[in-house]
Symmetry: C2
Subunit: 111 residues, 2 copies
Amino acid sequence: MDKPPVPVTARCPVRTALELLGGKWKLLILYQLEQSPARLSALKARIPDISEKMLIQELKVMVDSGLVHRKNFGEVPPRVEYRLTEKGRLAMPVIAACRAFGQAYVRGLRE
Amino acid sequence: MDKPPVPVTARCPVRTALELLGGKWKLLILYQLEQSPARLSALKARIPDISEKMLIQELKVMVDSGLVHRKNFGEVPPRVEYRLTEKGRLAMPVIAACRAFGQAYVRGLRE
């Protein structure tokens, strides 16, 4: 017997996740920052096809939502580094689940 | 010591997942179909704020990518039902991870 369906209310946690992590780039950026803190240029090099404008925009959104910490070293020339916060680290299981899904889906295509 | 960063190549499984599951609605639709197969009207009722046009569009994309099966009963008036495929079921851990993230994030806000 199928489970009684649960309507997706506005405040369902899956939606919260989609709002905070959604889009083409956020999970990829978080994944890179989980590897190590990085400056903008290093992040740009690791995600070759993101524009600098988009990278700056997505980082700002994630700093505002508390997933990423922006550290300004107050030096001249300016040195700024981005790192994952504890909240940002909460997204790692989502990335792992996405990776497993992507691998299984592609494997399924080959079968 | 931080792990050496792994550049995100075009064909990384996380990207594959983002392409197949990305956007505001796909995971919510898959989540509903995991509860039970459904007709368009029933899905629309369970995801109140999606437009019918968007629902039809997202269902078509997921039928094309093999995540959803569209069954036409060949009746008059027409009766069409959508159900999760085995490939579609592969996305359930992503939904579970998103739910856990959303819950933990909101809990973190309250602390």
